[in-house]
């Protein structure tokens, strides 16, 4: 009687390898830094804007140089337009993990990704 290994074809082995690759990729995905739940934008000590990171959103935020546009989409939060001269903040790309920062220093805009202190008691909006 043939063992299972002896009856497997080349195609079977290919499928098994694919499944292994998918599984390993999944482990790597889970092992990365935790995704944030909230985007917080500040200028100086003032909170300009907060929003959940899982809801598409586009907002124009005023800094001393003019409006900076922040877009939240399925890649995370990113700055897509800024009046600053070097556009470094745009080139930083998206941020989505807790603790990630995007900064536009000339326009004094700081974007922070964080998570609520108590994820078991979330709220939809903050009244302040």
């Amino acid at each position: 009687m043939k063992t299972p290994w002896q009856i497997m074809t080349g195609g079977d082995w290919l499928v098994v390898l694919l499944l292994l690759a998918v599984s390993l990729a999944g482990v790597g995905w889970v092992a990365t830094a935790p995704e944030g739940t909230r985007v917080v934008v500040t200028s100086g000590e003032q909170v300009l804007f907060t929003a959940p990171i899982d809801q598409p959103h586009s907002v124009s935020l005023d800094g001393p140089l003019g409006p900076t546009r922040l877009v939240i989409d399925d890649q995370g939060a990113r700055i897509t337009d800024s009046p600053c001269p070097r556009k470094t903040c745009i080139s930083m790309g998206p941020a989505r993990h807790t603790g990630n920062l995007l900064a536009c220093i000339p326009n004094r805009i700081l974007v922070r990704i964080d998570s609520p202190a108590d994820p078991e008691a979330p709220y939809d909006l903050l009244s302040r």
Binding site: P4, V47, A121, L125, S127, R128
Partner: protein, 331 residues
């Protein structure tokens, strides 16, 4: 067929099903913000195709912008500015009359703790300006001459000022009214689940999927902390606090909610949160209760059976109206 093939095919089917499930789009919802009425106005709406949601939210923002031009004293050509510049009597639009009627009612019921006639006092303090400072007490006294709940009378759409120099300021109610009107626009577009938040003046329309809206109330002294969380549906939640707009001098905080009696920032509360049927009413009541303090504030709220309040007194103690507890979520 080899025995392991069904197993592999089964695994593939499971994998494909999981991939398909993860790729399904969420329910349509949008969340947009604009700077209007001197604050960030956020609108969240859900439950319809994206195109219809976008059109409804655009119309709601347009309505707020339109009302800002009508009711703001910062627009020179607004109806409120024209009313302030008028000699004695003016005809106003039905919308301005509606805001004035509600504001004057709260002003009378609160014994003048809510006041629509503090335009000169607020200009004097310039809390919203770049360099606010403490005015001289003589200037404060002069700015309060002729103000009060009876300084302005309304007969239909005819407004009469008691004195020519009376300056109208609807800052404590206009933003709430604009949110109410914007909610009406969303309803006209068929929206049944939405939230509008205009710098703390918010209305929660309908429900989130399968549950009411959950609203966190910011702790007035710890910016990152939430004092309480409430669950509401088809109601307004408005918070007024001394931490919103202020400057400090010699260790004393000077904020934007004034006691009409003294012309100074009110000192008896840190924050007040009101749950009411309309944002305009919640807005006016939050200011009035903030000025009155916990005891008199709760007495005022007892005149409004469908309004509830949570008060953080100046010493940090919490006071709430009798029905507040039914909105509070379990800690």
């Amino acid at each position: 067929m080899a025995w392991n093939r069904p197993l592999i095919i089964g695994l593939l089917v499971v994998l494909l099903a999981l991939s398909w499930w993860r790729l399904q789009p969420d329910d349509e919802n949008i969340h947009r913000s604009q700077l209007l009425m001197g604050t960030v106005v956020e609108i969240m709406a859900a439950g319809m195709p994206a195109g219809k949601l976008e059109a409804a939210v655009d119309a709601a923002f347009d309505e707020i912008a339109r009302l800002d031009k009508l009711l703001s004293r910062y627009h020179q050509d607004s109806e409120v500015s024209r009313l302030s510049q008028s000699d004695h009597s003016s005809q106003v639009t039905a919308e301005t009359a509606e805001v004035l009627a509600l504001g004057l009612d709260v002003a009378l019921r609160s014994g003048g703790a809510f006041d629509l006639t503090l335009g000169r006092l607020k200009t004097l303090w310039a809390i919203d300006g770049e360099a606010p400072s403490i005015p001289h007490h003589d200037a404060i006294a002069a700015a309060l001459i002729g103000t009060g709940p009876t300084a302005l009378t309304l007969d239909g759409q005819q407004v009469t000022k008691r004195t020519q120099q009376l300056q109208i300021d609807l800052g404590g109610i206009a933003k709430g009214y604009a949110v109410d009107r914007a909610i009406a626009v969303l309803k006209q577009h068929g929206i049944t689940s939405a939230a509008i938040n205009a710098g703390g003046d918010m209305y929660l329309l309908g429900q989130r999927p399968q549950r009411p809206w959950r609203i966190g109330i910011q702790h007035p002294r710890h910016k990152e902390a939430v004092l309480e969380t409430v669950q509401v549906s088809d109601q307004a939640v408005v918070t007024s606090g001394d931490y919103e707009r202020f400057f400090e001098q010699d260790g004393i905080r000077y904020h934007h909610i004034f006691d009409p009696q003294s012309g100074q920032p009110a000192r008896v509360c840190q924050s007040v949160t009101i749950i009411a049927d309309s944002v305009a009413l919640g807005d006016a009541l939050a200011t009035a209760v903030f000025v009155l303090g916990p005891e008199a504030g709760l007495l005022l709220l007892s005149q409004y059976p469908r309004a509830e309040g949570l008060i953080v007194a100046a010493n940090g103690t919490l006071h709430s109206s009798a029905g507040w507890g039914r909105y509070r979520t379990a800690p």
